[in-house]
């Protein structure tokens, strides 16, 4: 088989384009990260996390700054959520973490509301103030209950 | 020419003799077909076929269509296994060999297929040089030189860069012939080497076959309908019919009183043989 320069070039291009598409899917769409990206680990304890799931985004002022990296139950049967924040996002030590829902039926995410202190949270530290998920069932339950009482 | 085969004019199924006897004759019978049966669907091709081909001979396979001339070549090459019986080439029983061992023997066999069997995605140069590239350590330049040489020997020039589909039938056949002989094998199996060739090239290929046989000692097995050329060069004729065969030198067959032989050779065949006998006798005188 004699070498066919043009064909080889096109095959090479094909492989490159294919790998490019694969890389786009893996890195951008799939969110694959190589090595340890510059992140800091924080945690927050909630009474109720509602439908929060691992890899849910963490947002400050609506901008994504990290992901939920793990959820577990502590001895007191409260939910401990591990958070992975991009390094360089300095959250003051009295910031609070809340679980919110994007839209009425959308996914849940962790919203961080900034505090006033100068000192910021460091790697491994925990949010002091948290706000549990607002559950629609609960709200409706409360509403019905209140309506019943006022009668 | 050569001394006529001492063998009987009808090789029969008596090939199943003791092994010692077979070994004693191993040299005489370079290729041996013993008591072979073969059935394609409902058609019985061979029924106890047996024949022996001498090393260094030119053997001509004759027979009407469907008598299994091509299939016999394929059996010698190990492409077709008989239902029963044995084919031995250079002392090896073909059926018992693994594909790898068969490969070793096949390197010593050149085969010209009826329709050429050239790889249609490769140029003539690549096709003919393929066995050399696969099995020798020669450089590309050496291979290209050798290929050109062999192509010239079969009367082709300047076709190296063409693809098989760009060749005429006669050219294709000669390219395939070049590929079969490029490795200088010990055995050359040719299925209809002359069909589709003009008279000039028939003579060229015929002479080439004789030269390969005389100079390099190739054992050649040819099937052909081209009576004149093939009868002229053959040492032994094997006439296939009714699942078996009749074998003998051209002289023996020409003087055979067997009705079937006479019928097959026909007037033309006998005329050729008569002519042949005269020329040979003339040559000896």
């Amino acid at each position: 088989m004699q070498g066919n320069a043009t064909r080889d070039l096109i095959v090479g291009l094909f492989v490159l384009v294919g790998i490019g598409a694969l890389a786009y899917l893996s890195l951008q769409v799939g969110g694959l990260e190589f090595g340890t990206k510059e992140t800091i680990a924080l945690s927050a304890t909630f009474d109720d996390i509602g439908g929060l799931s691992v890899r849910a985004p963490i947002k400050v002022a609506g901008v994504k700054v990290g992901r939920v990296s793990g959820i577990k139950l502590d001895e007191d049967l409260r939910a401990v959520v591990s958070l992975e924040l991009d390094r360089g996002v300095n959250l003051s030590i009295d910031s609070s973490a809340a679980i919110r829902t994007s839209g009425l039926l959308g996914d849940q995410y962790v919203a961080v509301e900034l505090g006033a202190e100068d000192e910021s949270l460091k790697d491994g530290e925990e949010f002091s103030f948290t706000e549990s998920a607002l559950s629609i069932d609960k709200l409706i339950g409360q509403f019905v209950h209140n309506a019943g009482v006022s009668d | 020419m050569t001394t006529p085969d001492s063998s009987e004019s009808r090789t029969d199924a008596a090939a199943n003799e003791a092994d010692t006897a077979a070994h004693a004759e191993a040299d005489a019978a370079f290729i041996e077909v013993r008591d072979v049966d073969l059935t394609f669907g409902v058609r019985k091709v061979y029924d106890g076929l047996g024949c022996r081909l001498r090393k260094g001979g030119i053997h001509l396979l004759l027979g009407g269509s469907g008598t299994g001339k091509s299939t016999l070549l394929r059996m010698i090459g190990g492409l077709q296994q008989p239902d029963s019986g044995e084919v031995r080439v250079a002392g090896h029983s073909i059926a018992s060999l693994s594909e790898r061992e068969l490969g070793k023997i096949r390197k010593e066999i050149g085969m010209l297929f009826q329709n050429g069997a050239l790889l249609d995605s490769m140029t003539v140069l690549e096709n003919v040089g393929l066995p050399l590239r696969e099995h020798t350590k020669q450089s590309t330049d050496e291979i290209d030189k050798r290929v050109t040489e062999v192509l010239n020997a079969v009367g082709l020039e300047g076709v190296e860069g063409l693809l098989p589909r760009e060749l005429s039938g006669g050219m294709l056949r000669r390219v395939a012939f070049a590929r079969a002989i490029v490795m200088e094998p010990e055995i050359l199996l040719c299925d209809e080497p002359f069909s589709g060739l003009d008279p000039l090239n028939v003579t060229r290929i015929e002479n080439l076959l004789v030269v390969l046989n005389k100079e390099l000692g190739l054992t050649i097995v040819v099937t052909s309908h081209h009576m004149a050329s093939s009868l002229r060069m053959a040492d032994q004729i094997i006439l296939l019919r009714d699942g078996g065969c009749v074998a003998g030198t051209p002289e023996e067959l020409a003087s055979s009183s067997d009705a079937g032989v006479t019928e097959f050779l026909g007037e033309d065949g006998h005329a050729y043989l008569a002519l042949l006998r005269e020329t040979r006798e003339g040559g000896k005188a």
Binding site: M1, V11 | G103, L119
Partner: protein, 258 residues
């Protein structure tokens, strides 16, 4: 009654013998991958035939499938007021299922059938026997580079298909229906994970590529050596490979644990 049982027995024997042949053939092809020479030139040519020549088909089909998904899902999701979920649904369905399966079926029709037809016609014109007589293994010379090329081309074409489909859904969902582009893309990126989704997609397309490579080359090598035989083998490749792809798709999805 005994006749029925006998027929069943014969069918079973045929099936087992057939499977045995395929496995034996596949083993030979795989074994020949590590045997020199590498046949890199043939591999490149096969990659050109199977991969490059399928690119236009894959991109066009991907884009169209994406547009249809965008249109259908946007309308359906809007009814529930969940149009923002378009990115997530499009991304997950494409990456996990539609991408690998549709690419597999398209490549089967476009390249798998062509490979069977090519090898089949090589067989019917005695080219494979010619190779054998030159002590060249046709499994190594003909089947191996093509099977390998299909295996490699499939994940690449799959990635192309998905990328174009994502763009197609973007075109309809965002440019035409007026969904916010950021919502679409971030929904997509949040929903699709590398390990579970892209990994599964890659595994599927690799397996589909291998299956198609095996089926297409085997059918070519085992076809009846005449024109009708080549035609039957080509059809059989498309049918067998499609069924193999769909069945193995279910098995991978189930084993992966969704």
């Amino acid at each position: 009654m005994t006749g029925l049982i006998r027929a069943l027995g014969a069918q079973t024997t045929d099936l087992v013998v057939g499977l045995g042949r395929v496995v034996n053939f596949g083993g030979k092809v795989v074994a020949s991958m590590v045997r020199p020479p590498t046949r890199f030139g043939f591999f490149l040519r096969a990659l050109y035939d199977a991969g490059v020549l399928s690119v236009a088909l894959i991109c066009l089909s991907g884009f169209t499938v994406g547009m249809v998904l965008g249109l259908q899902l946007y309308t359906t999701l809007s009814r529930f007021g969940a149009a923002e979920g378009l990115g997530a649904v499009v991304g997950l369905s494409l990456v996990r299922e539609l991408g690998p399966v549709l690419t597999g079926l398209l490549v089967t029709g476009r390249a798998g059938s062509a490979i069977t037809a090519e090898i089949g016609s090589m067989k019917s014109s005695e080219q494979l026997d010619g190779l054998r007589m030159m002590a060249i293994d046709p499994e190594h010379f003909v089947a191996m580079p093509r099977a390998l090329a299909l295996t490699l081309a499939m994940p690449l074409l799959n990635a192309l298909f998905i990328t174009f489909a994502i763009a197609g859904a973007y075109t309809v969902g965002v440019s035409i229906q007026g969904l916010d582009g950021g919502v679409y893309i971030s929904g997509l990126e949040n929903a699709v994970r590398f390990g579970d989704d892209v990994g599964q997609s890659l595994l599927k397309s690799l397996v589909f590529g291998m299956l198609l490579g095996l089926v297409a080359t085997y059918k070519g090598h085992s076809c009846e050596p005449d024109a009708a035989g080549v035609a039957r083998a080509t059809t059989s490749t498309v049918v067998t490979a499609s069924v193999c792809i769909l069945v193995s798709d279910y098995m991978i999805t189930a084993l992966w644990g969704v």
